[in-house]
């Protein structure tokens, strides 16, 4: 008897509570900057993946006869078997006669690999440290002072230091960019954990005897996902830039593997005469970073509405 009455009293509130919002994917696909940014990033990834099939030649191939050609010039290339072919250098060639178009397309690989790997590693490590530091009070003081220390050193300077300790290469560059990014993730995650740990549902989990690792994994961690994904995109963008900066300074990846940064570094001396050496990789770099940032802004608006109002 009473169940009917009680359900009737509560029915209105339950109805109000059950009014559905469109699913997260629908909302993401409706957001213009997610769509535009996502599309550009996708195109860049396709370019990187399909670089060999987009009319490129090996990016490290040197041809002393076709040095410093301007974009659009038609050149004759002598192949290994002795025959010659005509090709148009879309973006010109550099001072060693290497095809900028091929180098820029192959360069997308390194930039994107660096961007995504740095984002993934720094998030994985940062979330772990952040969860522990935010939840376990005595650990917090120690961890956060270390993080403060890391943040006090300019990121690029720290990266230069780390690269100079090891042999230059992709792994070293990634490591060198990850280290200064970690404190940012840790701080973000820790701040989320500090608010979530006070939630009654976490206290309820404690009082039913849930062990620490399950509390962190089930009840606390899911709340960090949205802000961390958003932060991840920004890390990705800044990693792409940082890699370019390191390569530009000549301490990044050696020039036999083309990256947008080292293409620009090599074009630096002849910038006034042959600006195309810097212009084309810069366009790709800018476009990629812009796209990733747009994606991040859109993700923030949809995943983390409170944060978008604050900013």
């Amino acid at each position: 008897m009473s169940i009917v009455l009680e359900n009737e009293v509560d029915a209105a509130a339950a109805r109000a509570a059950a009014v559905a919002r469109p699913s997260i994917w629908v909302r993401l696909l409706r957001h213009p900057s997610v769509v535009i940014g996502g599309c550009i990033v996708l195109v860049m990834m396709l370019i990187g993946l399909c670089a060999p099939f987009l009319g490129t030649i090996p990016p490290a191939q040197i041809d002393p006869t076709t040095r410093n050609k301007k974009p659009g010039v038609e050149i004759t290339v002598r192949q290994d078997d002795g025959s010659t072919v005509q090709r148009t250098v879309l973006m010109g060639t550099d001072s060693l006669g290497r095809d900028i178009y091929s180098r820029v397309l192959y360069g997308a690989r390194v930039s994107l690999i660096v961007g995504f790997t740095v984002a993934a590693i720094s998030i994985a490590v940062g979330v772990l440290i952040g969860l522990l530091s935010g939840y376990i009070r005595w650990l917090d003081g120690i961890v956060m002072r270390i993080m403060d220390g890391l943040m006090a050193i300019p990121g690029i300077l720290l990266a230069i230091g780390l690269v100079s300790l090891f042999r230059a290469g992709l792994g070293t560059v990634i490591f060198a960019i990850v280290v200064p990014e970690i404190p940012r993730v840790v701080r973000l995650v820790r701040s989320v954990v500090l608010t979530i740990r006070e939630e009654p549902y976490v206290e309820a989990a404690i009082s039913v005897g849930t062990p620490l690792h399950k509390i962190l994994w089930r009840h606390v961690m899911p709340n960090t996902v949205a802000p961390v994904i958003v932060q991840g995109t920004f890390i990705c963008a800044s990693a792409v830039l940082a890699e370019a900066a390191l390569s530009f300074l000549g301490i990044g990846i050696p020039t036999d593997t083309p990256t947008w940064g080292n293409i620009m570094a090599e074009g630096r001396q002849f910038f006034r005469v042959y600006p195309h050496n810097i212009f084309f990789p810069a366009i790709f770099l800018t476009l990629t970073v812009l796209a990733v940032n747009m994606l991040g802004d859109g993700l923030r608006d949809t995943l983390d509405p409170k944060m978008s109002k604050r900013v």
Binding site: Y201, S207, V208, T210, K214
Partner: protein, 544 residues
């Protein structure tokens, strides 16, 4: 009550306010009619979602764009204002009508002194000189019984107590002597003794100035103390209106009857004694001290719980009552070991759990379970309610199948559909969620169940059901229950014994009938005297 209602100050006629598309109903308020005469206090009463605050905002012209007025008229002293321009409304606000809000801390600007905030009102609406304005403000502070008005004038909101802040709000509303005062749950955020003073003040000023007051509340105790007439709302529709006494004694609509009879009585209920039952929980000199100085701060210790000794026997329910900051929640959380007590003993049967380290404590976690105040935050929104309920038993080695079976049984115990276990919390109402929390606590088969303000966030009709459910469960499972509440009515109905706390100390402790009917301590007497509507026996209707 001499009421002079020659001409209504506020006349709301057929007012309809739309809700955004996709809401559970098309209107926030639908064809609502009522009026407020001069010298009259009209209470809008209703549960959450009844549209009472929306109507108040409509009168003030403060509705958000998503809630447009779709029809009807609002007349303020004869002038139609439902469709008035923003300029006209700005001229009317504060001058002819003023509003006070529930939370005075957020309604006041934290970076301006209280005096400056009222001064701003006067600068906008009058041509008075600076000194005249200041004199007027000091006078109005005196009128709202502020101690030391010049000091209040120069104080920032955070330097004042909750009651003083609400007085500042009232002073601001009254400074230009409006014809209509709208009070939107002005005392809900205040402690009961402060509430009584504020209600008295509003009544007093209203009588003196002959204002019309539109008073919004969900509390029938407050209605009974302050209203001349009552308007009952339900889901945006006017259910019933009439003079207070008539409506409380002879409600015609079944909904009003249900609502009024859901208000718990102040008279302690007859309860079975548990004298011989074994003691389940006993605290000895339980103390929690906060602060005590860090590396750079001076020691400033707060004794949140001070030398608390309580005993709960099997099947018995002990209420801990007190105002905010009295330490009642601190005691509950120390007992549940969500915080660590500074010293003292918490005896569970023969074990002292007060100072056990976490790894030894885990074994005892099962034995004390707690239900929290806020039903919207006490369930993890990302996990189904089934997962939340089975989590505890599975922590202690139950298999998935066993735990699921138990969860289904418990859902029936708390009168919910067992098939709803795979739904998420947002698909339930507040009352239903609180039932789920109770089921989660019971899944551990605890010896002590703590309800920490477990019904305070619920509407009165839902509150009555949850209270009944908790009492049934206590009886059926022979649980020891600790009931933390600020609501004396709730304590009177579901507790066998009651401990009254003030500033961390238990000032009175005994069987509920003794404490409520023959209070000894001055603080208990003050609390009981301040309870709104204490003399009214709700739910005793006369035949119409």
């Amino acid at each position: 009550m001499a009421v002079t209602t020659n001409r209504p100050i506020l006349d709301v006629h057929n007012l309809s306010i739309a809700l955004p598309k996709g809401s559970d109903r098309p209107f926030a308020a639908e064809k609502v009619n009522f009026s407020v005469g001069s010298g009259e206090i009209v209470c809008l009463v209703g549960e959450s979602g009844s549209g009472k605050s929306v109507i108040a905002q409509a009168v003030m012209g403060l509705l958000p764009k998503s809630l447009p007025v779709k029809g009807g008229e609002i007349r303020l002293e004869g002038e139609e204002i439902a469709n008035a321009s923003e300029e006209r409304l700005r001229d009317l606000r504060c001058v002819r009508m003023a509003m006070i809000f529930q939370e005075p801390m957020t309604a006041l600007n934290p970076v301006m002194t209280c005096g400056d905030q009222i001064d701003e009102v006067l600068r906008t609406h009058t041509k008075l000189e600076a000194q005249q304005r200041k004199d007027k403000i000091i006078r109005v502070f005196e009128r709202v019984s502020m101690p030391d008005p010049p000091r209040i004038y120069g104080s920032y909101p955070h330097q004042l107590s909750g009651g003083q802040r609400q007085r500042v709000m009232i002073a601001m509303a009254l400074v230009l002597e409006p014809a209509l005062l709208i009070a939107d749950e002005p005392t809900t955020a205040l402690d009961v003794t402060t509430q009584a003073q504020i209600l008295e003040l509003i009544k007093d000023i209203q009588r003196e100035k002959g204002m019309g007051v539109l008073f919004i509340t969900h509390d029938f105790g407050v209605v009974c103390d302050i209203a001349h007439r009552v308007v009952v709302l339900r889901l945006g529709e006017l259910v019933e209106a009439g003079p207070t006494r008539d409506l409380l004694l002879r409600p015609r609509h079944p909904y009003s009857r249900m609502l009024i009879s859901s208000v718990p009585s102040m008279l302690p209920a007859e309860r079975v004694r548990h004298d011989g039952a074994p003691t389940v929980l006993r605290t000895e000199k339980l103390t929690k001290i906060y602060g005590g100085g860090g590396m750079f701060q001076k020691a400033h210790a707060v004794r949140a719980a001070d030398d608390v000794n309580i005993t709960v026997r099997q099947g018995e329910s002990l209420g801990i009552v007190g105002e905010s900051g009295s330490g009642k929640s601190t005691v509950a959380r120390c007992i549940a070991r969500l915080i660590d007590p500074t010293e003292g003993k918490v005896r569970l049967g023969d074990d002292d759990v007060a100072l056990l380290p976490q790894r030894l404590l885990r074994r005892h976690r099962r034995r004390i379970q707690i239900v929290f105040q806020d039903p919207y935050r006490s369930l993890n929104p990302r996990r189904t309610v089934g997962e939340s309920i089975v989590e505890g038993p599975m922590n202690f080695g139950a298999s998935q199948a066993e735990a699921n079976q138990r969860a289904r049984t418990l859902m029936e115990t708390v009168r919910l559909d067992p098939d709803a276990l795979d739904r998420y919390p947002h698909q339930f109402s507040g009352g239903q969620r609180q039932r789920i929390c109770i089921a989660r606590a019971l899944a551990m088969e605890p010896e002590v169940l703590i309800a920490d303000e477990a019904v305070s966030a619920l509407d009165v009709s839902v509150q009555a059901q949850v209270l009944k459910l908790l009492d049934e469960i206590r009886e059926r499972m022979n649980l020891a229950m600790l009931f933390i509440t600020h609501d004396l009515r709730v304590a009177a109905q579901v507790c066998d014994e009651v401990a009254v706390m003030e500033k961390g100390k238990v000032v009175e402790y005994g069987p509920v009938a003794d404490v409520f009917l023959r209070p000894k301590h001055a603080y208990t007497q003050a609390l009981l005297a301040a309870a709104p509507g204490r003399d009214w026996e709700f739910g005793k209707f006369e035949a119409a």
